[in-house]
């Protein structure tokens, strides 16, 4: 995968959940350039082109970030804060994918400038629906791909 050309950055520490999210996105025919990192520290390295990602071009920011909240080392809220505090990255749309239904997390996230907050439901059908909403959101962001995706989707259904 081309590290410089990332459309969606998925930040999720649980590999199974990450796989589930990726598969759901795939099911929604959103399989464009997705990169997955395991924790908040790595996510920041990726975005700001540091550490393992020092060779990346920081100008090429991901076009959307799916961010888990509860992660070791640097948590999701901290990642969100740093991205939104930086002029270069603050316009990247961020969707929080959280297991937590605590109101405080929701409020903090919105105060930090999150674009969308999705509570991951246990039931898969509801989960896929949430992912599909994210998909629609993604399509709106990326109008150039909409027609292509729609066409692909129709083809798939047929």
């Amino acid at each position: 995968m081309d590290k410089d050309q990332v459309d969606i950055l998925l930040v999720e520490d649980n590999p199974y959940e990450a796989r589930l999210t990726l598969m759901s996105l795939e099911e929604q025919n959103i399989s464009s350039n997705i990169h997955h990192v395991d924790d908040g520290a790595e996510a920041l390295d990726f975005i700001f082109a540091k550490g393992n990602y020092a060779d990346r071009n920081p100008e090429n920011t991901p076009r959307m970030i799916l961010l888990d909240l509860n992660m070791p080392k640097i948590g999701g809220l901290e990642v969100l804060r740093r991205i939104k505090a930086d002029e270069r990255t603050k316009s990247i749309p961020i969707v929080i994918l959280s297991s937590s239904r605590e109101d405080s997390d929701l409020v903090t996230s919105y105060m930090l400038g999150v674009n969308s907050y999705v509570v991951k439901p246990v039931e898969f059908d509801t989960f896929t629906k949430a992912i599909s909403d994210i998909g629609s959101y993604w399509m709106m962001l990326n109008e150039s791909t909409v027609l292509f995706l729609l066409a692909k989707s129709k083809m798939h259904k047929a």
């Binding site: 649980n14 199974y16 959940e17 589930l20 598969m23 759901s24 909240l69 509860n70 297991s99 937590s100 239904r101 605590e102 991951k120 439901p121 246990v122 039931e123 898969f124 059908d125 989960f127």
Partner: protein
């Protein structure tokens, strides 16, 4: 308080009087016997034995009999006054008018002071005057064997001076007795006053000590309350942290189980056996059920921490919107719901919506197997409180298990019969309790159930 102290004072005076009486009586015994014996000695001079024994004996008998017969009365003291006079007369007679024997009256008069009662001088004075007048008259009338005085010049003038001086002495002795009594009384009253003041002072000190103790206790209580509050806050924070991690850590694996089962089901739909297909469904259903349990439990615990915001709420509005939501939701057919008059209430609208949603969805759930399910909602007034009810004609419940009805995770029906987590009614109870209201129910198996709750106005 004043009455009590004055009675104490009177009791003190009485005690003192009793003491004076006892001591005086004791001394008087010796004097009387001494007087009697004196009479015996005097009898040797003029051979007046009969007079000494008879008159002296009568005197003693009069004194002691009065004292024994009327022990509570002061009469014997008056008798004593008279007896002293009689002894004087007896001695004068025994000594055949020896003038110095008249002084015996003054010894008696002085003796009587000991009782501190001036009136005792009166019988003595009367006896002395009567004796003097009678015997003087008899002697000067020439009656034989009457001895009053050996003086040759006992004229009326002398007699009057004699009587006057005697009365002056009686008067002075009476005055002394009176003064003594007044002084003693004052003294007793003062000592009681001092005692009272000391007692008051002691009580004041006790009160101050008690107050200081209470103050100390209050202070320590405040510290304790502060400590406990801090502890509770810590525990509460820990609980919140626990809930948070429960939410995240328990739900994530469930989502993974559910999600991957679904993936397998979707991808291998045509390849797996019917049994495996069903088993996978069971896995998914149970994971989903556990997810609901966790969510409900978290709602329940979050509610424990939430503060309620009370305002005037249109209950009919809430009920309508709850029913609308149920109709729009995934619930099966909604039966006939009869809505009677619903009184407004002062409560937290968000929490109250939860109460109605739980009660109405329960009624729908448990009556849906009936041929013609019917739900009735309304208000009635009981004991000055608005009581709301949700009544159905569904599965009902056995009143024997009423205790379990509102307990968390307790259910009276199998999950396979009626789905649910056993948190709904517990949540209802918690919300109503938070509003200082009451919730109760009655029901009968297969006849339906009615749930009531009342809210303070």
């Amino acid at each position: 308080m004043i009455i009590r102290s004055s009675t104490i004072k009177n009791a003190g005076v009485q005690d003192f009087s009793a003491d004076v009486k006892r001591k005086s009586d004791y001394t008087i015994n010796f004097f009387l016997i001494g007087f009697f014996l004196c009479g015996m000695i005097l009898a040797t001079f003029y051979d007046t034995w009969l007079v000494a024994v008879a008159v002296g004996g009568i005197c003693l008998a009069a004194y002691y009999s009065t004292k024994l017969l009327l022990p509570t009365s002061d009469l014997y003291q008056y008798v004593l006054g008279a007896v002293f006079g009689v002894f004087m007369a007896q001695y004068i007679y025994q000594m055949h008018g020896l003038f110095e024997m008249h002084f015996i009256a003054f010894i008696g008069s002085a003796m009587l002071i000991t009782y501190q009662n001036w009136r005792l001088q009166l019988p003595l004075a009367i006896v002395v005057i009567v004796h003097h007048a009678l015997f003087a008259w008899l002697q000067y009338s020439g009656v034989e064997r009457i001895y009053f005085t050996q003086l040759e010049y006992m004229s009326l003038q002398t007699f009057v001076i004699h009587a006057f001086l005697a009365c002056v002495i009686f008067f002075i002795c009476g005055l002394w007795a009176y003064q003594f009594r007044a002084f003693s009384r004052r003294h007793i009253e003062q000592s009681y006053e001092i005692g009272r003041l000391q007692e008051e002072e002691r009580k004041k000190e006790q009160l101050m000590r008690a107050e200081a103790e209470i103050r100390e206790l209050n202070e320590s209580l405040e510290t304790k309350v502060r400590d406990r509050t801090a502890q509770l806050e810590t525990v509460n924070k820990e609980l919140e942290a626990f809930s948070y991690s429960v939410a995240h850590d328990l739900r994530a694996p469930l989502r993974v189980i559910n999600g991957f089962s679904r993936m397998v089901l979707k991808m291998e739909e045509n390849k797996i056996s019917k049994v495996s297909f069903e088993n996978l469904h069971i896995i998914m259903k149970n994971a989903a059920q556990m997810g609901r349990l966790i969510d409900d439990l978290l709602d329940f615990s979050r509610l424990g921490r939430a503060a309620i915001e009370v305002k005037q709420v249109d209950m009919a509005d809430i009920v309508q919107s709850v029913i609308k939501d149920l109709q729009n939701g995934e619930q099966l057919t909604i039966p006939e719901i009869r809505i009677n008059e619903l009184a407004d209430a002062k409560c937290d609208p968000i929490l109250m919506r939860q109460v109605w949603a739980n009660l109405i969805s329960n009624a729908v759930k448990y009556s849906r197997k009936k041929d013609s399910p019917l739900i009735e909602i309304g208000t009635s007034r009981r004991n000055g409180m608005n009581t709301y009810y949700v009544k159905d004609n569904g599965a009902g419940f056995n009143m024997e298990f009423y205790d379990k009805l509102f307990a968390v995770f307790q259910r009276l029906h199998k999950v396979t019969e009626y789905e649910g987590t056993g948190v709904g009614l517990a949540l209802v109870q918690r919300i109503i309790t938070k509003h200082h209201g009451k919730v109760w129910a009655d029901g009968e198996i297969d006849k339906g159930a009615t749930f009531y709750f009342s809210l303070p106005n």
